[in-house]
Subunit: 198 residues, 2 copies
DNA sequence: GTGTTACCGTAACGTCTGTTACGCCGCTCT
DNA sequence: AGAGCGGCGTAACAGACGTTACGGTAACAC
């Protein structure tokens, strides 16, 4: 890492290093030294930029949340219909390529770390609740005549399905190819009567 | 822990201590000392019973797998129809009470630990594949006229849904009450045409 | 009761952790 | 060009970690 004073860029580079370590070495090896090595610097820079290890993790978690929100916002904005938006957004939650598989592994690492960190679990809940609200809104827009009592279980089923299959694929990619996950998603949308062509 | 030579019982007690620490303190604090404290003994006993920390974790993981398999076998045997069996088995995968919430937290801990442990990930895959095969078998029995191309996406959707909602509920129990999870499951089964009364 | 066995608590080892303190070196300003 | 400043690499710290070695003591045989 070159010698610069661009603090936001350094914070982002270090957060990316956190994600790298979490994805390839796991939570147990997520040490300050490992992060520094992944970022190509020393622990001096890391501890100079963040007051302590926890702050580093919290920043990395928040940044990941923010990036994924921006990406999903764009997917939603680009969709022609609510049903296409629903499918596109849910599809992003699957783990169908190296990037999203990595995302899923990192996601699980943060979730496991949250067990012993009140602030991490608070961030997770905030993010997850807004994710759930987004899908409920898209389901309601996709089926305008449904009551909330119909929307809520369907939306919950869809987000749970995406989360679950992403965890499966992250742990066993060769047995959960992209095509299987996509067929699963389209079958579920069709079963609920939310298919794009329905 | 009393002074005895009942090795299997000690191994099980220590594994239960591993689950306790994993559930209440998280993977980062899963140390030999913490496990010994949770078991009410010292590190001496732990290291006398297991050659090293990894062996302790692997044993705890395998025992958890075995116990859940026995429980699910019983649920399946007790069911009157394939559809009832399918629902009962999937319901066990939800996180609807303190015990199953704990199970889900522990499950995630092991999954996160598996990122940096080839043997743990192998065990996870073996277990997960047999779990998937079980649900595919139950779905096929519940809908005898379906082709494999219909069975597989539905079964995948169902197990992913259960896994996902268990993770949600483990991280945010107050926002994922049992009733919501059960309504989600029954709505999904009905949507697939696999409802108990269908 | 006494001797033997081995279970397991105690204590120590070297390594690795997060964190702190120090100082070099490149940039900027006059 | 030289002085001043601050970013960040280096090195050391205390504590916690996994693991090892040793010794006291409970449990059994007789």
């Amino acid at each position: 890492m070159a010698r610069t004073a661009d603090r936001p860029a350094q914070g982002e580079a270090l957060s990316r290093a956190v994600w790298d370590v979490l994805a390839h070495q796991g939570l147990e090896k997520l040490t300050v030294r490992a992060v520094a090595a992944a970022a190509g610097c020393t622990t001096g820079l890391v501890m100079h930029r963040f007051p302590n290890r926890r702050a580093l993790l919290l920043h990395a978690r928040e940044l990941l949340h923010e990036k994924s929100r921006v990406r999903v916002d764009a997917l939603e904005a680009d969709a022609a219909t609510p049903r296409e938006a629903l499918r596109a957004v849910l599809h992003r939650g699957l783990a169908t390529d190296p990037e999203t598989v990595t995302d899923s592994v990192v996601w699980m690492g943060f979730l496991a770390a949250a067990v012993s960190d009140g602030e991490l679990i608070t961030m997770h809940r905030r993010h997850n609740r807004s994710w759930r609200a987004r899908i409920e809104r898209l389901v309601a827009a996709s089926a305008p005549d449904w009551t909330p009592a119909q929307v809520k279980p369907a939306a919950l089923g869809l987000i749970a399905m995406a989360e679950g299959v992403a965890a499966f694929a992250a742990a066993d990619p060769s047995h959960y190819p992209a095509a299987d996950q996509e067929r699963m998603l389209d079958t579920a949308l069709a079963a609920y009567g939310l298919g794009v062509s329905g």
